[in-house]
């Protein structure tokens, strides 16, 4: 008996103290009470007035601290997300980490030609197929924004392309309430009805307020619909420090947190207990290029800060990692992807999106998704830590092998090498001669070849003919209904 001894060793990290979290929380409450947020949605404004908010001219909604507190409490602390087959896929709770793609990249590095070109619907299919194959990636998103798709139908086209190419949960964007409703209808056709979908959701809508401190009509429409239908939503602002938020990290954090909290209030007032994932994106504008920086260190600090804050709130927390400002699979993409994936794991973020993002949120590549899969495997192994037990320590064996012996053929080696050691899928660990014999490839070349092989050979589980027919009917009906539609952001 080893009294009071913790046998599990795990890497752990947090950035903020409890006092610092409270300080940030109070500052965000101050912003919501004294400045408020603009809510460009009449129905939502009236709903918030009735809930106890003060309404100022220009759709300004000032939220009292007690209401924010109530909404933090009523938001669920855990959300289970299923896959297309209805099997449990992700538990968004505590410090459980899950990684997946981001949405809407306008350019793609073609994996066959290496060309950087406008994204198309095949890029969405390819990303989904690669995700279906990659064992360390937990959820899919469109990755690409198809330039050839009809504007009002493009998010629905993406949603179908993802459904057809992977069973994994779908993190998705929508133009507005109307196309979101069609996608929920399609999802219900897969699960066999809206009730079954509410019970075992396999999709998460991703919408955003607009910094600073604005909730657009379109965004609020989506928040209300998800709250009504019990469809999980990730409603998280993206603040550009020095442009749409203060340049200081703490200024960016308190404003972005006020935006995120006000989103939780709108959502919870509409549908108490409805599932929401929150957090925020606060990163600087590059002061030379004006680019919204994805791969920089400041973003990791604001990311760690909000992860601590949302763990404190007890609300499932999104994340962003596997991101880079470089424009292809190169050394910068590799180091920024690796560092961000590692940090997001240490942060304990539950829904870490944007895997494979390059070009500061403009460029996708299926090979880059495969690279992140390798990095995620590495990180998950590291986060698992190790255990201190007499069996694993093996003192008896160490005595019997003795000085100058070897452990090559010990039972202990055979018994534990699989559980103790991570096995890379693609990383080069050959000796130099063997590496040269195999062609002396860079990791980038290996990735491209492997990704091509996945796309050539991996066949995802198809949807049933019946579900496919239902989807076609819903899409035809929606296309007609959205013909004259102008979506308002």
């Amino acid at each position: 008996m080893n009294s009071g001894f913790k046998s599990q060793v795990v890497p752990s990290y947090r950035l903020l103290t409890d006092e610092q979290i409270k300080e940030i929380h109070l500052a965000s409450l101050d912003i919501l009470e004294t400045v408020g947020v603009r809510v460009n949605h009449e129905e939502a404004v009236e709903m918030l007035r009735a809930a106890g908010c003060r309404i100022r001219p220009g759709h300004i909604v000032q939220m009292p601290g007690w209401l924010v507190g109530e909404c933090i409490r009523s938001a669920p602390s855990r959300i289970t997300i299923y896959n297309r087959r209805g099997e449990e896929a992700m538990r968004l709770e505590g410090r459980k980490i899950h990684y997946g793609l981001g949405t809407d990249l306008i350019k793609t590095v073609d994996v066959r030609t290496g060309e950087l070109r406008p994204s198309n619907l095949d890029d969405v299919r390819n990303a989904a197929r690669v995700v279906d194959y990659c064992s360390d990636i937990d959820f899919v998103a469109s990755s690409a924004l198809p330039h050839e798709a009809q504007t009002n139908m493009m998010y629905i086209e993406c949603f179908r392309a993802e459904l057809e190419n992977t069973v994994k949960p779908i993190f998705f964007t929508a133009a507005g309430r109307e196309d979101l409703a069609a996608m929920i209808e399609i999802a219900a056709a897969v699960t066999g009805g809206e009730e079954a979908l509410r019970e075992k959701p396999f999709l998460i809508n991703y919408s955003e307020p607009t910094a600073p401190l604005v909730h657009s009509y379109g965004a609020v429409s989506k928040v209300l619909l998800c709250a009504d239908k019990g469809i999980p939503i990730c409603y998280t602002p993206a603040d550009v420090m020095g442009a749409s938020a203060p340049v200081s990290l703490i200024g960016g954090i308190v404003q972005a947190n006020a935006e995120a909290l006000s989103g939780i209030v709108i959502h919870q007032v509409r549908g108490k207990g409805s599932p929401i994932i929150s957090g925020f994106f606060a990163t600087p504008m590059d002061m030379l290029s004006s680019v919204f920086v994805y791969g920089g260190p400041e973003f990791r600090l604001t990311h760690s800060a909000y992860a601590d804050i949302y763990h404190y709130y007890g609300i499932p927390c999104w994340g962003a990692a596997g991101v880079s400002d470089a424009h292809g699979i190169d050394q910068q993409t590799a180091f920024e992807s690796a560092l961000t994936i590692l940090m997001a794991a240490l942060d304990g973020a539950n829904l870490i999106h944007d895997i494979g993002y390059m070009g500061a949120g403009l460029i996708g590549s299926p090979a880059n998704i495969v690279m992140s899969n390798e990095i995620i495997g590495w990180v998950k192994r590291m986060m698992r830590g190790f255990e201190i037990t007499p069996e694993l320590m093996g003192l008896d064996m160490i005595r019997s092998v003795g000085p100058g012996g070897d452990y090559l053929a010990e039972e202990h080696t055979l018994n534990y090498y699989k559980s103790e050691l991570w096995r890379p899928r693609l990383s080069n660990r050959d000796d130099p001669d063997t590496w040269l014999q195999k062609g002396g490839k860079t990791f980038g070349q290996t990735l491209v070849e492997d990704t091509q092989a996945i796309l050539d050979n991996h066949i995802p589980e198809p949807l049933s003919a019946e579900v496919q027919a239902k989807i076609r009917a819903i899409m035809a009906k929606t296309e007609e209904a959205l013909k004259e539609m102008y979506f308002i952001a």
Binding site: G404, D406, L408, A409, T413, L414, Y417, K418, D431, P432, D433, T434
Partner: protein
């Protein structure tokens, strides 16, 4: 009978250390010769292990378990095999050169070679050129394997080969060398026959050198 050989191959492949002696004895009792058990049962199993290891479907600890399984069966077969056969693919004398105390790589190669059907005479570490020469004279191996981890001990490999030449036995034995600093250029310089970059390659090189 072919079913019996198949079972032996599968037992070697799966590392069935507990079953192998019983299966080997059953095959001998059923009328198979020791040579048949080796050539048709055990070695095909080890060849499959080698193939799977090369493509990353088996790992070093599993390969070594198969090798130990093979070695356990060989204990029964050796007394029955003709002396000239050297117990399968032939004898290898192996050791880490004088001044070098690193034995892990050498041990790994020794176990792999043993598993592949060679009879291994392991001279250990810090082996002087004269000791290698004596072992070559005594065991008349098909192969001599030398290991060095350090650039400072590599010259002992050349000195050992020189000693074999001086004694007039160099032509009787193929010499392979290994260890992290060893290169193809070095092999040519010291007039060795081959080198292998890793333990898996060592088995292939050894088999090629004995003309298998």
């Amino acid at each position: 009978m072919s079913e019996m050989y198949g079972q032996l191959s599968v037992a070697v492949l799966g590392g069935s250390l507990k079953e192998i002696k019983k299966l080997t004895q059953m095959a001998l009792d059923g009328g198979a010769s020791a040579q048949q058990v080796l050539d048709l049962g055990l070695l095909p199993g080890m060849d499959e292990v080698g193939k799977r290891f090369k493509v990353g479907e088996m790992f070093i600890p599993e390969v070594l378990l198969s090798a130990r399984t093979m070695t356990a069966a060989m204990e029964l077969l050796k007394p029955l095999l003709a002396k000239s056969e050297g117990g399968g693919r032939g004898t290898v004398v192996i050791g880490t050169v004088q001044g070098d105390l690193h034995n892990i790589g050498k041990n790994l190669v020794a176990m792999m070679l043993e598993g592949a059907g060679f009879t291994v005479v392991d001279l250990g570490i810090d082996v002087k050129p004269q000791a290698f020469l004596n072992a070559v004279k005594q065991h008349k191996p098909k192969l001599l394997g030398m290991s060095a981890l350090l650039t400072t001990t590599m010259p002992r490999m050349g000195e050992t080969i020189h000693a074999l030449e001086e004694a007039g036995v160099r032509a009787q034995v193929k010499v392979m060398v290994g260890g992290a600093p060893v290169t193809a250029d070095f092999v040519a310089k010291i007039r060795a026959d081959a080198y292998a970059a890793n333990a898996g390659a060592a088995v292939e090189v050894a088999r090629a050198l004995v003309g298998d």
